[in-house]
Every structure is written in structure tokens, then in C-alpha cells.
């Protein structure tokens, strides 16, 4: 069965056979660019559709059901609508920053994809500091949001951007600590190494208490970092109308919207990689028939399944909880999540040194 790894190698070999190494590399980059743009489009369509359906199920509604079979192409129709919409630039704005902000947000969302491992040995760039890279790049997205909010010359936007600044930087700490737990257990920052370390069992099973705590903290922190309800202070629709993207319309708004969903995908993919074993199939014991059946499922399906499960959890949060207030949001981080994750890190260190994990 041809895996993604297989196809990638075939293309690589064919290109190198046809062209000079430099040209081949250029073509590979080109293919990556096209693929990633394709991935973006598909993610946008799928995730928005999923959000709508999940919310509809929870809210006794049907969800979109008019465009295409079971409303599958609703997002396509909406995209067309957004393209036809006018992308206005209000008079009072800082034009340069205002137009730059969506690009920054998009660049961050795209670059962060580089070290993600989508399937077995299928990765754009296996950076040796993979986890660290993701932490570093993801903090850039706050710059885009601050830029958008400040440049809009709108008080709602300003408030939204400021809130978002305080929020994202705060929650980055506990997300970082949660990542560190896994790094300590693995002893490596490379994504591929982390995934390989889970071949005999996912960290969530092997690492017991510290990993469970880290996983819960990670989920809370990334929900906050991606500005999702119940932590959607930056948008806070009932308070700030639309927060930092109040003044954005048309395609520029669509880019923010898309970036938000791609960010959700990225953090959930990261969560799946670190805690749920990435593309590793579910195994019990060694050499049983069950394991062989699990192995038969392609690694990309495993990865996607885990990621989408986590995405569902984040959507589930959104459609259940009320929004926190800004001071409660920061209290939660500084009074609960941060101290707990610090002690959790000590616990993880202890367990690693004693070798108590499986």
C-alpha cells in the first residue's frame, strides 16, 4: 500500500533524476507551497463545516444543509461570498499595518506547519528543535492580532487586541510547561524523536499523572492561545462586537478567520503528536492480532483521527461554556495553571529520573 512517505520519496527521486539538485530542490519547494496552500483551503473548508455541524448538533439544529449534499459545500459558497465582498479600509486606519496584519497572521499559521509530522516520515522539515520552534513561532501570532487591533483605530479593536495580548502571552507559559513535560520524558526536542519514543505506547498511557495533568493544561492553554471560547476575549462578540477584527471585511477578514482555524489544527496536531503518539497506531501489548489490525490503518489516518478528535474537544468547549471575564482569565492562568504546571514539571522530572514511567 503506497504511503505518503512512499509517494514523497518517489517524487524526490524522480525530480533529482530529471533536474540538477538545485532545480530539484526548487521544484520541491514549489510543490510544498502548492500542497500547503491546498491543505489550507481544505482545512478551512472542513473545519468550518465541522464547527457548524458540531454546533448544530449541540443546539438542536440541522446546520447547513442546502448547498451540496448535506450542505457540504456551504463553506465554498461562503468563500465565494467573501471574495465578492468589498474589503474596506476605513479612513482613520494606519493603512500599512492594517493591510499587513492579515499577512502576518497567515505567515505564522503557515510557517508553524513546517515541523509537523503528518504521517510516518512525512514532514516538511524535521528541525532538531521542533517543539521549541513551534513555541517560538506561535507567539508571533499575537503580533498580528495586536497590529490589527491597533491599526484599526477603533476602540473595540484596541480593547480586543490588548486583551488578546495579555491573554496569549500568559497562556503561552503553561502551554510551554506542558510541552516541557514531554520533552523531559523524551529527552529530545525533535518531533520525529518524540513520535518514535511513543512507538511502544503513547505518552498519555505511559506517563501517568504528570502527563495527564500536562495534557489537561495543554488543552486549556491552547484553547486560550487560539482565542477560542470560553477564552475568546479578543473577539468577545457580546462585549466588543468582533474585537480585533471589527474593521476587517471581505477577504482580509476571511484570512483572519482561516488563520484561526488553521491555528486550531496546528495546536491540536501538536497535542496529538506529543500526547497521543502522532501517527503511531493504538497498540495493546505486543504482537497481538489487534495490533496488526491497527497497523493496517495508514499512519496519516491515525494522525488525522487524533487531531480531529482534539479539534472536536475544543469545539465542544466552545459550544458549552460561557466566556470568562478578563481578570478571571488571567487569574486562572497565574493562580492555577502556572503553579500547577511548575509543580507538574518537577513531578515529571522526578518520574523521569526514577524511571517510573513505562
Amino acid at each position: 500500500m503506497p504511503s505518503l512517505e512512499h509517494i514523497a520519496n518517489l517524487v524526490h527521486d524522480w525530480l533529482n533524476a530529471q533536474f540538477s539538485p538545485g532545480l530539484a530542490l526548487f521544484f520541491e519547494f514549489f510543490i510544498i507551497g502548492v500542497l500547503i496552500i491546498g491543505l489550507f483551503s481544505i482545512l478551512g473548508l472542513v473545519l468550518i463545516m465541522m464547527e457548524r455541524k458540531v454546533s448544530a448538533w449541540m443546539q438542536l439544529r440541522l446546520g447547513p444543509n442546502r448547498v451540496g449534499p448535506k450542505g457540504m459545500f456551504q463553506t465554498v459558497a461562503d468563500t465565494v461570498k467573501l471574495i465578492v465582498k468589498e474589503g474596506m479600509t476605513p479612513d482613520g486606519v494606519d493603512k500599512l499595518l492594517f493591510n499587513l496584519a492579515p499577512f502576518i497572521v497567515m505567515i505564522v499559521a503557515m510557517v508553524i506547519m513546517a515541523p509537523l509530522m503528518f504521517a510516518k516520515n512525512f514532514q516538511i522539515w524535521d528541525i532538531n528543535i521542533g517543539v521549541f520552534f513551534i513555541t517560538a513561532i506561535s507567539s508571533l501570532s499575537v503580533i498580528g492580532i495586536l497590529m490589527a487591533g491597533w491599526a484599526s483605530n477603533n476602540k473595540y479593536s484596541l480593547l480586543g487586541a490588548m486583551r488578546s495580548g495579555a491573554q496569549i502571552v500568559s497562556y503561552e507559559l503553561s502551554a510551554g510547561f506542558a510541552l516541557l513535560t514531554i520533552v523531559i520524558l523524551t529527552g529530545d526536542l525533535k518531533i520525529s524523536a518524540i513520535v518514535n519514543a511513543q512507538s511502544d505506547g503513547w505518552w498519555i498511557f505511559k506517563g501517568h499523572l504528570p502527563v495527564w495533568i500536562a495534557f489537561v493544561i495543554f488543552m486549556i492553554a491552547v484553547t486560550a492561545e487560539t482565542n477560542r471560547a470560553p477564552f475568546d476575549m479578543a473577539e468577545a462578540e457580546s462585549e466588543l462586537t468582533a474585537g480585533f477584527h471589527t474593521e476587517y471585511s471581505g477577504m482580509k477578514f476571511a484570512l483572519f478567520f482561516l488563520a484561526e482555524y488553521v491555528n486550531i489544527f496546528v495546536v491540536c496536531a501538536l497535542g496529538a503528536t506529543l500526547f497521543l503518539g502522532g501517527w503511531q497506531p493504538l497498540h495493546f501489548g505486543t504482537g497481538t492480532g489487534f495490533n496488526r489490525v491497527m497497523d493496517y490503518i495508514p499512519s496519516s489516518i491515525w494522525f488525522a483521527g487524533k487531531t480531529f478528535f482534539l479539534i472536536f474537544v475544543i469545539m465542544w468547549f466552545r459550544w458549552t461554556f460561557p466566556r470568562l471575564r478578563i481578570d478571571q482569565l488571567l487569574n486562572l492562568e497565574w493562580k492555577y495553571l502556572l503553579p500547577i504546571s511548575m509543580f507538574n514539571l518537577l513531578l515529571a522530572t522526578l518520574i523521569t529520573i526514577m524511571g517510573w514511567h513505562f
Binding site: 443546539q59 457580546s238 460561557p322
Partner: protein, 375 residues
């Protein structure tokens, strides 16, 4: 004679921001315009600007006959239109000194309580939506829709029913009415605990609500608050208990009181009122007496010279109807003392020192219906 609206630009001096919330804002549920002075996230001052939906119903009523003006009041507090109509009909009856037949009295009270449940369920959904939970809104609408269907069947309309006429009600109950109401009560009894689990018990919701927008008992009285807003502050002000009208003195129900005076207290009062309304319905629905539904009245009504004031407990508080009659076929002057207007006046006092998020939660628990405030 008029003084210009003083827009003092304090922002340059103190670092304050002046934000307009509304008239087009997701949290103002209509066209309320609040000018909010904030510093950082902290609210310094809230100035309500009203009048975006002012239709001068009082002036309109002056040119309408005593049968006709009742229907206009459905458009004031459209969520408790039955009770508005009821208060007006009672005021006309007081002037005419007409005794309403017992059957009509029962029907009126049942309709009032159904309206109250419909209004409070909608408030619950909207309240949860204000603090960011979107799912409760749809759960609330499921229940409200059942009531609307019952109303549609008997009254012929879903929102502005115009079912009350001076001397009774317009038509008799639909044959299926009692059965439908019992079904609804059974359904709602099973669902109201879900309300508590989903929203009331939620830790985030409680944190958002507790200690926010505190209105002390003295302030509540001084600001003329009524209804659940005042009862959340421990002021006993239920017109149904204090000055019973129709058959309210025959039914057993409690007036829920909370003493904390914060948003959560007001929230709890309304949730308990839902349960009380259901118990009133249960007591009344089985023994509606047979008989006339309208007292005999003349085709053209004329109130004697004098002043008449009636009050009724709407879902938002005390609605007063003050008719000054000169003996003609139309009222000389009508004043509607709407509950929302007085409740809103306390908003500035409550909101100072809170956050923007708190303001939204407070507005939610005040249960503002803007046409009721502007009239």
C-alpha cells in the same frame, strides 16, 4: 430652553476611553445606546441614551378609544404583551366598574403565567448568550416555541396577541388548550433541571455573576426597581402577592427573594419564578370554571371623569397604567409606568467600577426590553 448634550471630552485628560455600546450592538438586545466611559477595562460611568424606538405610545393612546388603545400596549414590552394588555383592560374595568366573569379571570391568569414563562425562558437563553454560552439560547427557544404554539392556537397570534378586551377575553379557550398546557408543564419540568446543570452550576458562569452589579436594598427601592431586579436585592415587591388581582389570591405561590443583590441573585430569582409560575399553572389549569368569558359592556366605552391607576406584575416588574379621564370616549392622558425604565436607571449605579464583561452580564440580568423602556 433646552440644554445641549454635554459631551465633555475627558479622555484627553485622564486616559479614559468613551465607547458607544449600541444602538447596533450584540449585547444590547435592541436599540439601547449606552455611552460607556472606561479606563482600561474598568467602567467609570454609563450613560443610557434612549429613544431609538420611541413611538410615543402614550400620545397615540390619547387618540384611541378604550377598546383600541389596549392593542398598542402589546408593542411596549412585547415579551409580556398579555400582561400589558391585562393591566390596561383592568384599568378600563376599574373605571367602568365592571366585574370580570370568573372563567375570564382564570384564563387571564393562566395566560399571564404562560407569558411569564415564555419571557423568562427567552431571558435565560439571551442571558447565557450575553456571557458567551451560545447553546442555552436554542434550548430556551425549544420551550418558548411550545408556549408560542399554545398561544397561537388559542389567541391567534404568537407575540402580540391582543387577547384581553375590557370585561374579559376575546374568545374562549381552544378545546385542546388544557391538554397542551399540561404537556408543556410535564416537558418543562423535565428540562428545567438541565438549565441548572448547563448554566447555573457552571463555575465560569457563577464567577461571572457573583458579586457583580451589586444593588443594595435601599438603592433598589430608591431607584424604583421592581420585579426580579428588586427581588434579587431582597425587596418584596410582587404585585401578585401585595395587591392581588384576578384570582392570584386563590393560588398558592411563593415570592422568591434573594438578598445578595448581585447579578447571580437576580438570575436565581428568575429561575425560581419559572418554577413558581409552573406551580400556579398546575393549580389553575384543572379547575377553570365554566361560564361567560366576557362581561356585558357597551359597544362604545366611556369612562367617568377621574383618575384610575392599576398595576400588574409583568415579567420585568411592576407595570402601572395611569388613566386620566375627562369622561369622553378616549383617555385624556395615559401614563404607562414601565418597569424597564426604572430598572435601567439603576444601571449606571450598578456598573461603576465593574468591567466591560460585567456590564454585559448586568444588562442581561436586568432583562431590558427596549420598547418597554422607550415606549
Amino acid at each position: 430652553m433646552y440644554r445641549e448634550t454635554a459631551i465633555v471630552n475627558e479622555s484627553e485628560v485622564t486616559g479614559d476611553l468613551v465607547i458607544n455600546m449600541g444602538p447596533q450592538h450584540p449585547a444590547t438586545h435592541g436599540v439601547l445606546h449606552l455611552v460607556v466611559h472606561i479606563n482600561g477595562e474598568t467602567i467609570r460611568k454609563v450613560e443610557p441614551h434612549l429613544g431609538y424606538i420611541h413611538r410615543s405610545i402614550e400620545k397615540m393612546s390619547e387618540s384611541l378609544s378604550y377598546r383600541q388603545f389596549i392593542y398598542v400596549t402589546s408593542r411596549m414590552d412585547y415579551l409580556s404583551s398579555h400582561i400589558n394588555n391585562h393591566a390596561c383592560a383592568m384599568c378600563v374595568e376599574k373605571g367602568l366598574q365592571v366585574e370580570v366573569p370568573p372563567r375570564a379571570q382564570y384564563i387571564r391568569v393562566i395566560m399571564d403565567e404562560l407569558t411569564r414563562i415564555a419571557s423568562h425562558t427567552l431571558w435565560w437563553g439571551a442571558m447565557a448568550m450575553d456571557v458567551g454560552a451560545l447553546t442555552p439560547f436554542f434550548l430556551a427557544f425549544r420551550e418558548r416555541e411550545m408556549i408560542n404554539d399554545i398561544m397561537e392556537e388559542t389567541c391567534g397570534a404568537r407575540l402580540t396577541m391582543n387577547y384581553m378586551v375590557p370585561g374579559g377575553v376575546m374568545y374562549d379557550l381552544h378545546p385542546l388548550f388544557q391538554q397542551r398546557v399540561k404537556e408543556f408543564i410535564k416537558h418543562f419540568r423535565s428540562k428545567i433541571d438541565e438549565y441548572d446543570e448547563l448554566v447555573t452550576g457552571n463555575i465560569i458562569f457563577q464567577n461571572r455573576m457573583k458579586g457583580v452589579g451589586i444593588l443594595t436594598k435601599e438603592d433598589a427601592v430608591s431607584y424604583g426597581c421592581s420585579g426580579p431586579t428588586a427581588r434579587g436585592s431582597g425587596v418584596s415587591c410582587d404585585i401578585r402577592k401585595l395587591y392581588p388581582y384576578e384570582v392570584y389570591d386563590k393560588v398558592q405561590f411563593d415570592e422568591p427573594l434573594e438578598t445578595a443583590g448581585d447579578s447571580f441573585a437576580r438570575y436565581l430569582v428568575r429561575l425560581q419564578e419559572l418554577r413558581q409560575s409552573m406551580s400556579i399553572l398546575e393549580q389553575l389549569i384543572d379547575d377553570i370554571p365554566e361560564g361567560d368569558i366576557q362581561a356585558k359592556t357597551k359597544a362604545v366605552l366611556k369612562l367617568p371623569k377621574g383618575e384610575f391607576y392599576t398595576r400588574a406584575e409583568t415579567a420585568r416588574g411592576e407595570l402601572g397604567v395611569y388613566i386620566v379621564s375627562e369622561g369622553g370616549t378616549t383617555p385624556y392622558r395615559i401614563k404607562y409606568r414601565s418597569p424597564g425604565f426604572s430598572n435601567l436607571s439603576a444601571l449606571d449605579h450598578m456598573a461603576r467600577g465593574g468591567k466591560i464583561g460585567d456590564l454585559v452580564a448586568m444588562m442581561g440580568t436586568l432583562d431590558l426590553v427596549i420598547p418597554d423602556i422607550d415606549r
